[in-house]
């Protein structure tokens, strides 16, 4: 496997020099490694000539960037308006209950990430949630455990 630094320089080589492409570069790095780290920021500071302060400023502004390793499966529970009026919050709570974590966290076994997202754009089929980008429509609280089981999750993890 290639060293991480050379993987980063490979990504940088895809873009013309200059700070304009900082966001796509960060997106690519996160796509490659799954998350961003302090080392990445330091390396970018050196390679791109942008201060670490500024990079942190950008990274913390956008919700997409993360500094923790992601879980194997990414659950996005939609909290858009249509989902909200059709009980989207109950679905999120059900995910939280079944997984034993709050939104924004990863399960202890590293299997699932749970996120609340503003809108997945499938409002006509609300409430929805996406697992690894695949959207599940018209979810009910009962369907949550079925969805999790499809990804090998939640075996008797019900709380007493």
């Amino acid at each position: 496997m290639k060293k991480r630094l050379s993987r980063i320089t490979d990504i940088l080589a895809r873009y013309p020099a200059g700070r304009g492409n900082l966001i796509p570069i960060l997106q690519d790095i996160q796509g490659e490694f799954g998350y961003l780290s302090e080392e990445t920021v330091e390396e970018l500071e050196r390679l791109m000539g942008i201060s670490a302060n500024e990079i942190y400023g950008v990274v913390t502004f956008y919700t997409q960037f993360r500094f923790r390793p992601p879980g194997r499966h990414r659950i996005q529970s939609c909290q858009g308006t249509a989902c909200h009026v059709r009980g989207g919050l109950q679905i999120l709570k059900e995910f939280e209950k079944r997984l034993g974590i709050t939104a924004g966290r990863t399960t202890a076994d590293g299997k699932f990430d749970l996120e609340r997202v503003a809108c997945l754009g499938c409002c006509a089929l609300a409430p929805v949630a996406a697992v690894d980008g695949e959207v599940h429509a018209a979810i009910t609280a009962k369907k949550v455990s079925y969805i999790l089981s499809q990804y090998g999750g939640e075996k008797g993890r019900k709380k007493k």
Binding site: P24, G57, V58, A82, C119, L120, G121, A124
Partner: protein, 637 residues
């Protein structure tokens, strides 16, 4: 231009080949929403059956036709018969259509939504006669759900890029004149006349000018742009060519949100095809006009839908807005004149150029010309993406197209414009949907999200919901927005928790006005709209929350208590077993009780209580509500 002529004839041949195909064709709606409804499985089953039976059948993946509540949608072409559109087609149904209709002669009329092409088929009406379609005028969405969005020849066969060629022919001045005469206004929200933006940009002398397509559809509850890009990406890209040519812009960006992976993919595919056809690059088809196009993926920030914040984001900075003026049309991306247009605005341009401004103005009202797409969702029977002439009434949309409220409950309000918009109450149902009327009612047109709310939705909760969204998305640059949205949210949280005071209402209104007047950008200036409209039309609900501790929609959980009807309860113990905090107690086969001091109002007991008893009920203030109906008498033996 000869090369494109060849492509046109090639496209005609290919499309006609499909249209008059001697072998059956299945068009499967496989946009994100279709896939969510199960289109991927349908495709898999269909393809497998075709393979195992060694059938000669073509399968084409198309975008979304619009009536999402009928998804997955499948259109079937059988040689010699009119094309039929089927709704709610699962894996079993698609095989049934294949066996019974395509291989047999039963057109499965019970599943058919309608005929797409003329011809006689007993028991199946025209698709355009379907109640969801009858009132619609599909101009912008003309190709969505009918063509393969990844096949540029399908687009060309439907007069694709002829609008752009027309613009090249008449030149930028006359193109601008056409857009002016059409009365087209920005479809992103504010409704600014498109031609005026262009004219400002054109008067600024600069060698470099930019055009940006805003596809950062951040409004929760809206999916018009996603559907258009997924279903017909070239119509948006052709619009970009027309705009760039008129402006003299040499570089373009499409800023699309990362939550739309399929739309991003479709854009990349389409841009590659444009390049192959010579529609991008230097000196496009010998016109002297050069244009390059880049897709930028958003990184998740609602405020980036605001023009100056979007520009900051493309420049690689925090997406924070700048004071205007200078407007982007004067000094935008990298300090150069920049025009930013919404996806749908651009999607209108090819039609205006091809058919002329006069054609465009036949649709719409006096000040709002043309058609507009809306994402119809919420408590409505027929949800989906619709396109209607501006000026149509809300009633027509909700009851005619949408088929009314789910479960025939009472309509309470229609929310338009997302977090920047407002709630229009049921008594204003005859309001015309145009820019001016919606603004007068305290809402905005917005980009086209339309959420229908019924009696089970609490308006205070809706206001709280939107404020929690805008408060979180406020970039923090200016104090009125940063502090004001937080202050409003905390008041709304107090009220929905049953801790509000009457003085809160005046305070709320005062802060809302300050935020509206004092904020730097559109996000802050419009964030109070959900609060102001609900206060204006639903003040009684606020007062009920405060004075009686009552949420009549039974939404605000802190104002609801759960109880067990002692006459109905059989003591089966099902609720006690699932209660997460052990608040329910009682002897076996004797009525149980809920300890109100322990209960956390999670509602599990209510959903668990067997229908034959339906003993759990809720109270809020003076109201009592039994959700379930007993299915049988309570005596079981």
């Amino acid at each position: 231009m000869t090369s494109l002529q060849q492509d046109f004839s090639k496209a005609q041949d290919r499309w006609r080949g499909l249209e008059d195909s001697k072998v059956p064709v299945f068009f499967v709606g496989a946009a994100t929403c279709g896939r969510a409804a199960g289109a991927a499985e349908v495709l898999e089953h269909l393809r497998r059956r075709i393979k195992t039976k060694k059938l000669n059948i073509i399968v084409v993946e198309v975008g979304c036709l619009g009536p999402c509540s009928f998804e997955p949608l499948v259109i079937v072409h059988k040689p010699g018969a009119p094309r039929i559109c089927y709704g709610n087609v699962g894996p079993e149904e698609v095989i049934r259509i294949l066996e019974n209709y395509v291989l047999g002669d039963d057109p499965c009329a019970e599943m058919a939504l309608g005929k797409m092409t003329p011809g006689r088929l007993p028991g199946i009406r025209d698709f355009n006669e379907h109640p969801m379609m009858r009132r619609q005028v599909r101009n912008i969405l003309r190709n969505c759900g009918l063509i393969d969005p990844e096949n540029v020849y399908h687009y060309l066969a439907h007069d694709g890029y002829r609008g752009f060629l027309r613009a090249l022919e008449i030149g930028p001045d006359k193109t601008l004149e056409q857009v002016r005469a059409s009365g087209l206004r920005g479809r992103g929200g504010a409704g600014f006349p498109t031609w005026r933006k262009w004219q400002t940009c054109r008067t600024i002398p600069s060698e470099t000018k930019y055009l940006i397509c805003n596809a950062d559809e951040g409004d929760p509850g809206a999916f018009m742009n996603r559907s258009l890009i997924e279903g017909d990406p070239h119509s948006v890209l052709e619009g970009m060519l027309i705009a760039a040519f008129t402006l003299g812009a040499s570089e373009g960006y499409i800023y699309c949100r990362a939550e739309y992976p399929l739309a991003l993919h479709r854009l990349e595919v389409a841009i590659g095809q444009m390049r192959k056809l010579g529609l991008l690059g230097k000196n496009i088809h010998g016109s002297g006009f050069s244009f390059e196009l880049t897709v930028k993926k958003g990184a998740g920030a609602f405020v980036c839908g605001e023009e100056t914040a979007l520009i900051a984001s493309i420049e690689g900075r925090r997406g924070m807005p700048q004071p205007r003026p200078p407007f982007p049309a004067v000094s935008g991306l990298l300090g150069k004149p920049t025009v930013i247009q919404n996806v749908e605005t651009l999607g209108n341009l090819p039609l205006i150029l091809r058919n002329g401004a006069e054609w465009f103005t036949q649709y719409g009202s006096k000040t709002s010309k043309g058609t507009k797409t809306f994402a119809l969702a919420g408590k409505i029977k027929r949800t989906g993406l619709i396109e209607v002439p501006l000026g149509i009434t809300l009633r027509d949309i909700v009851y005619d197209i949408g088929g009314g409220i789910v479960g025939d409950k009472a309509l309470k309000a229609v929310q338009t414009g997302g977090p920047s918009g407002g709630c229009i109450p049921a008594e204003k149902i005859d309001l015309a949907v145009d820019y001016e009327s919606l603004t007068k009612a305290g809402s905005i047109m917005g980009s086209g999200g339309m959420i229908v709310l019924d009696e089970d939705n609490c308006m205070v909760d809706i206001a709280r919901y939107f404020l929690s969204f805008t408060q979180e998305e406020s970039c923090g640059k200016c104090a009125p927005c940063r502090v004001g949205t937080r202050a409003m949210l905390s008041i709304l949280e107090r009220i929905t928790a049953g801790e509000g005071e009457m003085a809160d209402l005046d305070k709320l209104e005062k802060i809302a006005r300050t935020v509206k007047d004092g904020s730097l950008c559109g996000l802050g200036q419009t964030a109070p709209n959900p609060v102001l409209t609900t206060l204006r039309y639903f003040r009684k609900e606020y007062e009920e929350h405060i004075k009686k501790g009552q949420c009549s929609a039974f939404v605000c959980s802190r104002m609801i208590s759960y109880h067990i009807d002692q006459k109905r309860c059989s003591g089966c113990g099902a609720c006690a077993r699932v209660c997460p905090v052990n608040a329910i107690s009682g002897e076996k086969k004797k009525p149980h009780v809920i300890n109100q001091n322990v209960c956390i109002q999670c509602g599990v007991c209510l959903s668990t209580c067997p229908d034959i008893y339906a003993a759990v009920y809720r109270r809020s203030g003076e109201l009592t509500k039994y959700e379930k109906r007993r299915k049988k008498k309570e005596k079981t033996d």
